[in-house]
Every structure is written in structure tokens, then in C-alpha cells.
């Protein structure tokens, strides 16, 4: 029996960050399986601690980002992901995965629409965490950097006030330090009420080691070789291990 926590990474046609995301999960200690969605069944979530939806362009994201992927997921496993969360499972969505989670209704109501610039933006951004207790962020400093790479990362809500309430109430676990893409409340990442579902536009798997930073002299505040992205996955790993030992 494998002692390490198990991560299941769902791969849709067009998912393309699965390799490096699996590498990051393995680096912090998860056993990771990449599962093409064609093989997804409710029972595949049994024994899994973490479901990950990674970056990419599921089904091309042609209608809108994440829409077809969320419909296909519902078609294949119905509400299994919600049950999984309710039974203590963790769900992480990165970039396209975040877009899919918002479409699935696993996160507070909101949509990720075209960046205010109207462009794809591949750049590094400064982030601020607003939910220090989040199992996904616990080991990260108040401010840190991660790269983004998306055309549709502008988080909007029915009304701007709703987004403001996320910022005040902690659902907006992660915000951009600057206005990067026009997101309401500069929201970069959302968590659900349980705190076990978390989606973010930036790519933690691309900043696993300090050497991944664009500036060769970047040292950060932490000791050692690891970058901010590592600490996100590591926080999550720790939370799952701790939750397991509690139960």
C-alpha cells in the first residue's frame, strides 16, 4: 500500500501542462496519475486525495474557456467531484483548470473572460495572499511571484460588489498586486467555502525552483533551491498528510 497521498490529474484533449504539473506534484511527495478524460469514471476517484485540473486549452476552449471540458466532466461523472470535495477531497485547478472549476460551479460564482488587454499574456506577476489559512498557500509568504500565461484570465462576477465581497471575505485567496488583466478585485485565485477547492490563473508548476525565475540573481526570502510554486504544492501536500493523520 502506497503511503504517499495520491493525486489524480485529469487530462482533456488540449490539456498541455500535465507533464510539468505532475512533475511538481511528484517533487513535493504526491503519487501522481495522469488520467485522460476518456477513461474517467466515478470510481477512479476512490483512494484519491487530490484531483488536479492543469493548464492547457481543453477542447481548444473555442466556445469559451473551460466550457466543453466542464460539460464533458459532468457527462462522465455527474456530481462526483462535488461529493469528492464534500468527503474531504482536495481539488486544484490551474489556469485552464481554474476556468473549468468555475464552469463546474465548484468555486464561488464567477467567470474568467478575455483579458482587458484583449491579448494572450505570458509574463511574471506579483501576487498577494488574502487567505493565509488556505491549505494551498500556508507555506507561502504574503507576497510572491508566479508566471501567468493566459488570454482569458479576467475574473468577473455578476456585479463588481460580489467580487469585492470575495476579496473581503477571503474567497479571493489570491490577488494580483497590480492590475494585470482587468480582474475584478484583482482576483487571481478563488477558494470555495471548504477551503479544499482552489483555482488560480498563475502557474505554480513553472516556478518549482529558484532557477526558473527570469532574473538569474533572484533569491527570494526562502532558503534553499525551491521557488514559490514548490511551496504551493508543498503546502497542499502537508495539509493532506496532516488531515490524514488527524483522521
Amino acid at each position: 500500500m502506497e503511503d504517499r497521498p495520491c493525486a489524480l490529474l485529469l487530462k482533456f484533449p488540449g490539456t498541455n501542462c500535465d507533464g510539468e504539473t505532475a512533475r511538481a506534484l511528484e517533487a513535493v511527495g504526491f503519487v501522481t496519475e495522469i488520467l485522460p478524460v476518456s477513461a474517467l469514471k466515478p470510481e477512479r476517484l476512490v483512494g484519491v486525495d487530490l484531483v488536479v485540473l492543469s493548464g492547457g486549452f481543453s477542447y481548444g476552449d473555442y466556445v469559451m474557456s473551460g466550457r466543453i471540458a466542464s460539460l464533458v466532466t459532468e457527462q462522465r461523472i455527474g456530481s462526483t467531484l462535488k461529493d469528492f470535495r464534500d468527503n474531504g477531497g482536495y481539488v486544484l485547478g490551474i489556469c485552464n483548470g481554474f476556468q473549468i472549476l468555475t464552469q463546474l460551479g465548484l468555486l464561488p460564482s464567477g467567470s474568467l473572460v478575455e483579458n482587458a488587454s484583449g491579448r494572450f499574456q505570458c509574463q511574471w506577476v506579483k501576487l498577494r495572499k488574502l487567505a493565509p489559512e488556505s491549505p494551498f498557500l500556508a507555506q507561502l509568504p504574503e507576497e510572491f511571484e508566479l508566471p501567468i500565461a493566459h488570454a482569458e484570465g479576467r475574473l468577473v462576477t455578476k456585479t463588481p460588489e460580489e467580487a469585492e465581497s470575495y476579496v473581503k471575505g477571503g474567497a479571493a485567496a489570491l490577488v494580483y498586486a497590480d492590475d494585470v488583466n482587468g480582474s475584478f478585485g484583482r482576483i487571481a485565485g478563488l477558494q470555495d467555502e471548504s477551503g479544499r477547492v482552489f483555482g488560480l490563473m498563475p502557474h505554480p508548476e513553472r516556478f518549482l525552483r529558484k532557477r526558473d525565475h527570469y532574473d538569474p540573481d533572484w533569491t527570494g526570502s526562502e532558503e534553499g533551491e525551491w521557488g514559490s510554486g514548490y511551496w504551493l504544492f508543498r503546502s497542499l501536500y502537508q495539509a493532506i498528510v496532516d488531515a490524514d493523520s488527524d483522521s
Binding site: Y59, Y62, V63, R67, V72, S111, V113, R154, V156
Partner: protein
């Protein structure tokens, strides 16, 4: 049966139309985009509309308009353009492919035509030639210009 839906974005502000052109026009034109879906179908209308809402519409950031009437008002002209027959329309392919995977859709989707609609505000209706020239390409597109309601 045939139904037309036009989907507009609630949060995307009007943009500077000169950004779409090779050389700027005088007169401070702005533009907004919508997407127009022409659906040929047979079967239950309610099932078809449910499919449209579920597949094509984002309830948070978009609005759905049915019928021929343009979704926006007070425009100088509008340009509809989309893939001509034989040219690959990736969005259409994605929608059809999802539709084919639904076990019991409750209606039969016979045809789907997708058009980008570009509404131009300010400027003159004669300006439409420039937008056609700079945005449309006979190699892949079909298009038509809709006179304004100003």
C-alpha cells in the same frame, strides 16, 4: 426550424476601432463584438434552447438575445463575418462534437452557422469598406454589412 441567437458580453467595453485597421480613420470610431449563432434544428425548441444556454452562454458575463433584431443599438453599421463553407470553423466543430456526444439531446441539430458581429459606433457607413478590407479575407471568410440604426 431556424432560430437565431446573439450573445453579447456584459463586461467588455467598446474598443478603439482604429486598432483593427491598417491605417487609422478619422472620427473616433469604437466597436463592440458579439457572436451570432444561426441554428437549423428539428425537435423540441425548449431542448434546443436549453442546449444553447448550457453550451454557448455564460450567464455571468454574457447576455443572450433571440431573433433577428440586433442585440445592440445606435450603431453606424455592423459587420458580420465568419468562415465560408469549406473553411474550418473550430468553434463550430467543438460545438458539434459535443452535441454528438450527448446521449439524448431532445432535438436534432441540422446546421449551425457562427458569425462574429462587429458593431461600429461613430464614423460613417461608408467606412465599412475599410473594415471589410482589413478584417475579412475571401480565402476563408464570408461576410455581410448591416446598415446602422442611427
Amino acid at each position: 426550424m431556424r432560430e437565431i441567437y446573439e450573445i453579447s458580453d456584459r463586461f467588455i467595453e467598446a474598443g478603439d476601432a482604429n486598432g483593427l485597421l491598417y491605417e487609422p480613420l478619422a472620427g473616433g470610431l469604437t466597436y463592440r463584438r458579439t457572436r451570432r449563432y444561426e441554428i437549423e434544428y428539428e425537435g423540441a425548441e425548449a431542448a434546443m434552447e436549453a442546449f444553447v444556454r448550457k453550451t454557448l452562454l455564460d450567464e455571468i458575463s454574457q447576455e443572450l438575445h433571440s431573433g433577428e433584431e440586433p442585440a445592440l443599438e445606435d450603431f453606424s453599421f455592423a459587420l458580420d463575418y465568419g468562415m465560408k463553407p469549406g473553411a474550418l470553423d473550430l468553434e463550430k466543430e467543438a460545438i458539434l462534437s459535443y452535441y454528438r456526444g450527448i446521449p439524448d439531446p431532445g432535438f436534432e441539430l441540422k446546421d449551425l452557422r457562427i458569425r462574429q458581429r462587429l458593431y461600429l459606433f461613430g464614423g460613417k457607413s461608408g467606412d465599412s469598406d475599410r473594415f471589410v478590407r482589413d478584417l475579412c479575407n475571401a480565402a476563408i471568410h464570408h461576410w455581410n454589412v448591416l446598415p446602422g440604426h442611427v
